[in-house]
């Protein structure tokens, strides 16, 4: 019931905001989005206190929290139902989504000044879809929400974006949609070769795990082919090298609040889906392919960081560094160890908060200076002390300063992958290489901060630079507090994540 309530409340609010006059749209949207945010925080608290030790939603359906199932469609023999529920993996992601949406909406008050009711309406529509993606437990329902994220995102980039918004929007749209279709085809090849009669994710997990006698195509087992097709589909969303080229374009052109959502939540859709489908349902295949997948992850880490090093645009720097950070998640997932997989999931949350924070801070600076180029400005610290202070803190969080969430996430991943049995002898090498990525991150972030924030004040443009408004800085402060809270007490979410990860590690024959 709770999930349905979140979905319905947000959907109603979406309609309300679409119809509201532009002047009130921003305030109204913030109020509307506060409902699912508070709701999910309450659910988080309930989960934390009442659902200790709850298992994985896909592997032990009896343990699902806040579950609800209603039959929906019957297509021939396939049964589709409205089936939602949460476990320790989706609960933190749901909370991340709702909280970040509210903050992103508040941060949009300053930069968004045209067609406001449509902008906020689309943001809320996206929130509905995102809530659905993280809570749906039926493939059909999940896919409806998954694709539902695409449409508002496409319009948000295309209408309110920067100069090259049309190119960026269509590139985003084409990349992710083609990826979805490849994934869809790959998954359904499996569905139809295993005599499934239900499309619920637990049923699929069960059927794929026990599937035998699958056909082979050109000597390769169908399971492997499907795994690769699905990995491709989700990897575009993550994104990993070499499927990442839509990301910098989308980020640079998107308005700041949209970048926040893109980096903070949308990329996590990819890794969440990888964890649910590839690494839970097809765990055996994932174990077999662990080394090549880990290499893809490590290459993303290093390559993303190198690309970030070469940028002058602050937003591009953060965008490329996201590729790098998501590479860690892949490395953690393939490790198939409690710390590796748990850390990867934790890193999704941590990166969601930190990259959201970074984009928001860059946005606040841009609202004032109207430039994002590193060479164009310096000495902002004097003029915007609060903003710059938080920006520096966030950057250190990104570099992995202990007691911040980024450190915890990356530490867990390295801890888990260094001795990962799935990676065998390659584990220490790959992990060390990935660790080197942190050094590069520190390099470009320190360089960028030094040039823009410190030293004597100068600015190429003529804009008056003064401290940002309270409602611009407040979301930054909230995010920073969350980053620190999760860094000091990772168990706020790491405990529930591990409870839901451990069943995944127990299944399958591998290692």
């Amino acid at each position: 019931m709770w999930v349905a309530a979140l979905l319905l409340a947000t959907l109603l609010g979406t309609g309300l905001v679409f119809l509201s006059p532009d002047r009130y749209a921003g305030k109204l949207a913030a109020a509307v989005s506060a409902v699912p945010a508070l709701g999910s925080i309450y659910m988080y608290w309930v989960y934390l206190t009442q659902y200790g030790g709850t298992g994985n939603a896909l592997l032990s359906p009896a343990d699902i929290a806040f579950g609800q199932q209603i039959p929906w469609i019957t297509l021939g023999e396939l049964e589709v139902s409205y089936y939602v529920g949460l476990d320790g993996i989706s609960m933190p992601l749901l909370a991340l989504t709702t909280v970040l949406t509210t903050l992103a909406i508040v941060s949009a008050w300053t930069p968004i000044d045209e067609r406001q009711s449509q902008f906020y309406g689309l943001m809320l529509f996206m929130e509905v879809s995102l809530i659905g993606v993280f809570s749906a437990l039926d493939f059909f329902l999940w896919f409806v929400f998954w694709e539902g994220v695409l449409i508002p995102m496409y319009l948000l980039i295309g209408v309110w974006g920067g100069p090259r918004r049309k190119y960026a929007a269509i590139k985003f749209f084409v990349y992710t949609n083609v990826a979805s279709l490849v994934m869809f085809a790959g998954l359904f090849a499996l569905v139809f070769s295993t005599d499934l009669t239900s499309l619920s994710l637990p049923a699929m997990a069960e059927a794929f795990r026990t599937a035998s006698g699958l056909p082979t195509i050109a000597g390769v087992n169908l399971m492997t082919i499907s795994f690769i097709m699905m990995f491709f589909g989700f990897a575009v969303k993550v994104p990993v090298f070499p499927l990442h080229t839509w990301l910098p374009d989308a980020h640079v052109e998107a308005p700041t609040p949209v970048s926040v959502m893109l980096a903070g939540v949308l990329l996590k859709m990819g890794t969440y889906a990888l964890l649910r489908f590839n690494f839970t349902m097809l765990a055996d295949t994932a174990r077999q392919l662990a080394v090549p997948l880990a290499i893809i992850g490590v290459v993303s880490v290093i390559y993303g960081a190198m690309l970030a090093l070469a940028q002058r645009d602050l937003k591009r720097i953060v965008a490329y560094s996201s590729i790098s950070s998501m590479g860690y998640v892949i490395l953690g997932l393939v490790a198939f160890t409690p710390y590796g997989m748990g850390g990867a999931t934790f890193q999704m949350i941590a990166h969601g908060l930190i990259s959201g924070l970074m984009f928001m801070a860059v946005g606040v600076i841009y609202n004032t200076t109207h430039t994002r180029m590193v060479g164009d400005m310096s000495g902002l610290a004097d003029r915007m002390p609060w903003t710059v202070g938080i920006f520096v803190a966030a950057a250190f969080g990104y570099m992995g300063l202990p007691l911040m969430a980024g450190f915890a996430g990356e530490y867990f991943i390295f801890q888990g992958s260094f001795n990962a049995p799935t990676l065998g002898g390659a584990a220490p090498v790959l992990t060390s290489l990935a660790m080197f990525g942190i050094v590069i991150v520190a390099g470009y972030l320190l360089w960028a901060m030094q040039r823009t924030l410190f030293g004597a004040f100068s600015l190429e443009t003529d804009y008056e630079v003064s401290p940002a408004a309270f409602h611009d800085v407040a979301p930054l402060a909230v995010l920073l507090l969350l980053v620190i809270a999760l860094g000091v007490a990772p168990d706020l979410s790491f405990a529930m994540i591990q409870d839901s990860i451990s069943p995944v590690l127990e299944i399958g024959g591998g290692a």
Partner: protein, 516 residues
């Protein structure tokens, strides 16, 4: 409870026919004055009644009491679930078209004739849904076609419209001749015109005759000449391909849809296509059962023929749509592409029984969803034409700012046509997809996926123009016509409601296909 007389089963078709006659009567009372409201009202009541009757009969279970449905006129017409399903599609599309035409033709002459022709054509479609013999099917088909030739050329001072009408008529006449010849060959080979009789002839291998309503083998048990039958079937495939705008007889469609008044394009591309498909479904599923045909050493495997046609139609329609410069023509080609999707209903068939029901009902479900989303899209074009917006993609730039409600509806149609799960289109495409995988027709499944991806590209060009591009030039929208808006928004609402409601549609379609 009083049982209705049997002929009442034809009420969906009768109400359309009656309304068209009332229109002519109303016009002849005072030929010099035109009351658009009255004319559209009569047509609207007629088409709504038709839809209402069909819906009522479906829910009341007409045609499900026994496996043959209500048979009329010596089995020449059969009203079963399949017939009612398509009568409902025709009724709903006609209602939308009439509603939109109220504004669209307000400034034209010969309105009574216009509405009357629309309803006559719809009557033909309704009858075609129930036709149970090649002869009635052919007559119904002509009743569909002849008024629609006139309708396409309705804007008689517009060169494009007249040219389109003439092309449509010429190609239509040729394909009618092909179909008639095909029917005559089938008759020559089997001795009967009734679908069930043809099937008996094929399964028994002897030429049949009908005496006193029952099918019997002709005296002397002459064998069915399979080669002649094969040629006949091939020609019937050709006739069907014309009516459904499928490859290789698709090339009239873009011309006709572009030149015709936009509500008529909507009517032809949705209702007329559906009527073509019901004929195909019935003829091939009932009269030419594939198992018997192959067992009897039939010269033609129509499943394979439809597989080739489906794939070719999907690719040609979608690739051509992707290269168009005008919105209406793009939609016209996309409608060819959708014919390809529906053809999967006949192409993903494995024998008779369950496999046949699944693929047929997938095709039927797609036609119903398509009836709303495609009609809606063409009616949006009608709205744009009403406003004097140009024909090219660029002319739609920034329309979203001036008419957000209509453009939001159009966005729903386009994304639903592309198969995004915002409307029923995703579900019906998925149903088709599962039908292809059910029989292991990987090539069809791949074609469906590839073309869906491609179609998103050209549909989103319109979305991009409406919402993302800045308006160019000085276009002012002065009025928001009630009828057109109601039709467009109504179609959009139904398209969205088909997301939660798709289950009911697929269930009814599946039952209908099973009872066939």
């Amino acid at each position: 409870m009083v049982a209705l007389p049997d002929w009442m089963a034809l009420a969906p078709a009768l109400s359309l026919a009656l309304a068209s006659l009332v229109l002519l009567l109303a016009d002849s009372i005072d030929p010099d004055s035109t009351n658009t409201g009255l004319l559209a009202g009569i047509s609207g009541v007629g088409s709504l009644l038709s839809f209402g009757f069909a819906g009522w009969f479906i829910t009341a279970g007409t045609g499900m009491a026994n496996d043959t449905g209500v048979a009329l006129f010596n089995n020449q017409l059969v009203i079963d679930q399949m017939a009612l399903f398509f009568m409902a599609i025709v009724g709903s599309v006609t209602t939308l078209v009439v509603l939109a035409s109220y504004d669209y033709i307000a400034s034209h002459d010969y309105q009574a004739e216009f509405f009357s022709l629309v309803l006559l054509s719809a009557t033909g479609m309704s009858l075609l849904s129930a036709a149970n013999s090649l002869a009635t099917a052919f007559i119904a088909l002509e009743l569909v076609s002849l008024p629609s030739y006139a309708l396409v050329a309705f804007l008689k001072h517009n060169k494009g419209s007249v040219e389109a009408g003439l092309k449509y008529f010429l190609i239509g006449a040729v394909s009618s001749a092909v179909l008639a010849y095909g029917i005559s060959l089938v008759y020559a080979a089997t001795g009967v015109l009734r679908f069930d009789g043809v099937a008996t002839a094929i399964s028994s291998g002897t030429i049949q005759t009908i005496s006193e309503g029952s099918i019997q083998a002709q005296s002397g048990d002459p064998a069915v000449p399979m080669a002649i039958l094969g040629v006949g079937i091939l020609m019937i495939i050709g006739g069907v391909a014309f009516k459904t705008a499928s490859v290789p007889f698709h090339f009239w469609a873009p011309e006709a849809y572009e030149g015709a008044p936009a509500p008529i394009s909507a009517f032809l591309s949705s209702a007329s296509k559906a009527a073509g498909f019901v004929l195909a479904f019935r003829v091939f599923a009932v009269a030419f059962p594939i198992d018997d045909l192959l067992a009897a050493g039939g010269a033609i495997n129509w499943v394979m023929a439809f597989q080739i046609l489906a794939i070719a139609t999907m690719f040609i329609g979608n690739f051509a749509a992707a290269t168009q410069e005008t919105v209406k023509r793009m939609l016209a080609y996309s409608s060819v592409g959708h014919a390809g999707y529906v053809l999967i209903g006949l192409a993903a068939v494995s024998g008779s029984g369950e496999g046949l029901s699944l693929s047929l009902s997938a095709g039927m479900s797609h036609l119903l969803v398509y009836g709303f989303m495609n009609t809606g899209a063409f009616l949006f074009i009608a709205l744009a034409e009403y406003w004097g917006v140009g024909r090219r993609f660029e002319d739609y730039n920034g329309l979203g700012k001036e008419a957000p409600v209509a453009c939001a509806a159009m966005t729903v149609f386009l994304f639903s046509l592309a198969g995004l799960p915002i409307g029923g289109g995703f579900f019906s495409k998925f149903y088709l997809f599962s039908a292809t995988l059910n029989v292991g027709a990987w090539s069809l499944a791949a074609a469906l996926i590839i073309n869906s991806a491609l179609s998103l590209f050209y549909y989103s060009r319109v979305v991009k123009a409406m919402w993302i591009e800045e308006p160019n030039g000085s276009r002012t929208i002065e009025s928001y016509p009630m009828g057109l808006y109601t039709a467009v928004v109504g179609a959009a609402v139904v398209t969205v409601l088909l997301v939660p409601g798709f289950n009911r549609v697929s269930e009814i379609a599946f039952q209908a296909a099973q009872l066939l």
